[in-house]
Structure formats: structure tokens, C-alpha cells
Amino acid sequence: MSGHRIGAITRRLLQQFRRDRRTLALLFVAPIVILALLGYMIRGSSSTPSVGIANEDQGPLGATLASALERSSLISASTIQASEGDSRLKDGSLVAYIVFPADFSQRAQSGTIAPEVHLEGSQPGTSVPVLQALQQAFASSGPAAAVHFQPQIQYLYGGQGLDRLDYFGAAFIGLIVFFLVFVITIVAFLNERSQGTLERLMASPLRRGEIVIGYMIGFTVLALVQSAEVLLFALAVLKVYNQGNVILIFGLEALMALAAVNLGIFLSMFARTEFQAVQFIPLVVVPQFLLSGILFPVSTEPKPLQVISDVLPLTYAVNGLRDVMIKGADLTWSSLQLDAGVVAAYCVLLIVAGVATLRRRIA
């Protein structure tokens, strides 16, 4: 072992980094950006689940509990009609609603307290604060201890059987395809540049659009096979909950793959080496991963972050996949039309951007 020789290797490594400002920036700026984002998302989020209260009780107990719920810090309660509850769950303006039926006080006197709790059900974890708030309201203003507290829980989608994998699986099916296809495309396109073949192509009658579309079709074929494999594994082996049409899920995955291919081609224009290309991964993928609603529902993010989430293609893709798989959405749903439409529009935008930034002239 020679300290001198080891020192030579270490010095050479650091010298290389000194000239690669982009890598240095990534090394020191990216972790702060990512951690700050995560911190802001979790600590900065102030919103509590929106819960509707429909009080049909002819006795006094319903009103007492309703006002206790309205004071609860765990939820933000509002008064609704029981008949509008399901549609409010569907449009996403409520995550749950609680009905105190007409005979609520009467049944409480005979020993059972049974409010109806209707949960949206597609997001695990959101039921916890709702039931907690109800229990606290019951404890603070409820009648004698002899009474049984038996909330009647109903799920609009999914149900108690839905576990974390069912919820994340739907999103991850799309994320895996998006991520891998993006990485493969950006590196492959950069290879074309670094091995000199792109210069050759540019000195041929090939049009720029032909190169981009040719690439897109080639990688899309690969991506579709990958999507089919991922989907098959998720549904057949992992038994991820699915209420929707498999073809529709595959279609959404294909759209994501298309967007990823074109994003890869577009961003490869801004990298000179594979090393630099790899740096786009944390910059492109991590913020989308955090902000697209995969981990935390977009509605619980701080407002400024929601604005960013609303322009990310992955947000729409993830939402679409969850709608199809958990809620059984089909193309007649306007939310799914929006999701698919936005992802498709991104594909077109990225194709145009890729063609526009691909220069025939190297100087």
C-alpha cells in the first residue's frame, strides 16, 4: 500500500469534480431541496379531513354530537344533507360524512349509539381521524357509560380489506414504468450523442422529427412489454385490489411510458455526459414522486405545493390509475378523461419540445 498512490487517486477524483459544476451543485443542493420539500409537505400541511355531518335526529343527542364534532381539531366538519353525502364523497370534497339517523336519541336511550359513518375508502388512514373525532365527541357529551358505541361504517370504495399495497400498488404500477423508461431513454439518447452516431444521423437526410418519433416508437414497444409484465405481476401475484378494466390500466401505463420516453429525449439535450444525465433522475423523479399524490394526498399538501402538483403529469397519471383500480372508473368519468387527457397532452408537448431542442447543427 502506498499512501502516495492512494492520494493520487483521491486527488484526481476531486479534481474531476472541481470542473463538473453541475455534479457539485447536485451533490450539495439536491439533498437540501428534497429534504426541504419533504419537511414543508409534512409540517406545512395544515388541512384536516373534510367531514360532512347530517343530523336527522329527532332527539337532542344528534345536535350535541354534531356541535362537538364541529369544534374538533381532528376534522373540519360541515353540515350537509344525508342525500348529498355520496356525491360529495365522489367529487372529493369530503373524505367522510356522518349521519345521525332520526331514531338516534331514541336508540341511545335503549343502550346503543349507532351513528352512520360513510367513508370514501380509497385512501387508507383517512378513516382514523374521523372515528377518533367521533369517539371524542361521544366521550365529551355522550350519555351514560352503559351505552354501546357502535358506529355503522360504510365504504364508498374499497373497504376495510384495502391495505397499503392496494393503495400504493395502483400508483406504483405507473411510477415504476415512468421511472425506468425515463432512465433508459435519457441514457440511450445520450449514447447516440457521445458515440458520434447522432452526428452521422444529422449528416443524413433524416428529419429531426423522424429521429424523435422513431425513438419514441422503439422505446414505447419495450415500455409496453414492461407495463404488461408489471401489471400482470401486480394483479396476479401481488393481488393488488382492482375494480377497473385491465385494458384501461394498461392504456394509462402506456401513456405514462410515452411521456417518460419523450421526457428522456428532451432532457438528454441538456446533458453532455451520461454522468450528467443520471443527475436528472433525482431532479425529475424525486419531486414528482413526493408531489404527485403517491405518498400524501395532494389535497393535504400546503397550498403552494398543490399548485406544483397540479401541473405535474405524474399527479394525473397516479390519480387516474387509482380511480380505475380502486374506484372502478371508466372513460365515462370526467375525472378520468381529464387525467388521461392531461398525460396525453404532456406527451405531445414533450415530443414538440424534443424535436425543437434536437439541433442539426452541433455549433
Partner: protein, 239 residues
């Protein structure tokens, strides 16, 4: 008239930052001749070839190829371009590489002829990563000529080749020129310059002198081309 020249470069200027890569180059290459661009490394030969093929946008001046102003994407069908580095797809076989460039130029029929010309038809199934450096250069040449271009631009095509292979390359160039192909070839090797019909001496982005090897020698007043080049380059540097 521009039509009688395969390449017509008029007063081309190109600057990269503070470096004047091309400084008012004017040259004309006649149809069917082998024109040698001669000059040391960094003289501007590659930039000149790139500006002929339309990859470099001149800051001033014009370039016409086969009678058409460049850049002209359609006209590139008639141009073959071999880059300095053997630009190939390493994961593809020799034949697949040549087929690809044939398809890109709309000339699938020339693959076998091109492979025969570069003597790689026995290795057509070999993957590029398994080839020696010389074979890669030959494969790269096959990719440049597969569509039978009217103008062939070769950027230092024989760099790194052994003497036998270099002779074989030049025999191929001669054969193609006899078939009517115009060839512009850059080099910094003087014995290759002897094989060109006309030469352009490039240094510091300028065309110092132009003519047949004999004309260049008499212009410099010496019998030795290398000596002639050094004398003329000396004059250029002083001016």
C-alpha cells in the same frame, strides 16, 4: 458556375468563443476529384468538413454542395460522411450497422457491395464490440458509402490504421473516385497527400495554399511535400 463544382465554399468564417476556427475559407472541389485537406491538428479541417455537411453554421460566407446551398437536408442524400471517431452502434453487428445507415439514406441495396469494398463481408455477423480498431474504421467507411453518395467527406479516415490497411483504404477511395464519386479527405499525413489530385493546406482556420501536389511543391520551391507544407505554413503564420 457553381454546378461544375461538387463543393463550393466561399469566405466561410466560424468562431467558437474567442477561437477563430475558420477565417474566410474559400475553396472549390471539382466533381470526381480527390481533394485533400491538409493541416496540423486543430487547424480547422474538421470544422470545415462539418460546415460543408451543414453541421456547423458559418458566421459568414456560404457553402454549396452539388450546386445547392447548404444547409439542405434533402441534398444530404447525395453526401457520405465519415466522422473522425468510428461512429457506430457497438451492440449491433457489422451488417446491422451498415443496413441501418443504408435505410436512413433510403438505399438498402448497397449493403453487400459496401461490405465487399471494405473487405468486411466475411465478418458481417460480428458484433462491433468484438472488432479491432481497424475493422471498426472499415465498418464506419462502409456506413458512409453504402448509399453510393456523389460526394464523400472523410474526416481523417486513416488515423490509427496500420500501413497495409491505409493502402487498402486509399485503393478504395481511388476506386470510388474512378466511379465518379467526389472525395474530400482530411489528413495530416504527408504521404497521403501525394494520392490526392488537389490539396488545400489549412492552418489557423485559413486556406494557405491550394493546388496539385506538384503545384504546391513548386509554389514552395522544394521537391518535398512535407518541406513545402512547413514552408507555406511558416509564411501563413507570419502573415
Amino acid at each position: 458556375m457553381a454546378e461544375s463544382f461538387a463543393v463550393d465554399v466561399q469566405g466561410v468564417q466560424k468562431k467558437f468563443g474567442s477561437l477563430q476556427a475558420l477565417d474566410g475559407v474559400t475553396l472549390r472541389v471539382r466533381s470526381g476529384e480527390i481533394y485533400g485537406l491538409l493541416g496540423p491538428n486543430g487547424a480547422g479541417k474538421t470544422t470545415l468538413i462539418r460546415s460543408i455537411v451543414g453541421l456547423v453554421a458559418p458566421d459568414a460566407g456560404t457553402v454549396s454542395v452539388l450546386g445547392l446551398r447548404m444547409p439542405n437536408v434533402e441534398n444530404l442524400r447525395n453526401v457520405g460522411y465519415m466522422t473522425q471517431q468510428a461512429a457506430l452502434y457497438p451492440g449491433l453487428s457489422v451488417e446491422e450497422n451498415v443496413q441501418f445507415f443504408a435505410a436512413v439514406n433510403g438505399a438498402e441495396s448497397g449493403v453487400t457491395d459496401a461490405l465487399k469494398l471494405v473487405e468486411l463481408d466475411q465478418r458481417r455477423k460480428s458484433v462491433v464490440t468484438t472488432l479491432s480498431g481497424g475493422m471498426r474504421q472499415r465498418c464506419s467507411l462502409a456506413c458512409a458509402i453504402v448509399h453510393r453518395p456523389k460526394l464523400l467527406l472523410l474526416d481523417e479516415p486513416t488515423v490509427g490504421l496500420d500501413p497495409q490497411l491505409r493502402v487498402r483504404f486509399w485503393d478504395s477511395f481511388r476506386e470510388m473516385a474512378d466511379g465518379g464519386t467526389t472525395i474530400v479527405v482530411s489528413s495530416h499525413v504527408m504521404d497521403e497527400a501525394e494520392r490526392c489530385q488537389r490539396l488545400g493546406l489549412v492552418q489557423y482556420g485559413k486556406l494557405l495554399a491550394e493546388g496539385s501536389p506538384d503545384e504546391i511543391r513548386s509554389l514552395a520551391g522544394t521537391n518535398n511535400l512535407e518541406e513545402a507544407f512547413l514552408r507555406l505554413a511558416g509564411t501563413g503564420a507570419e502573415s
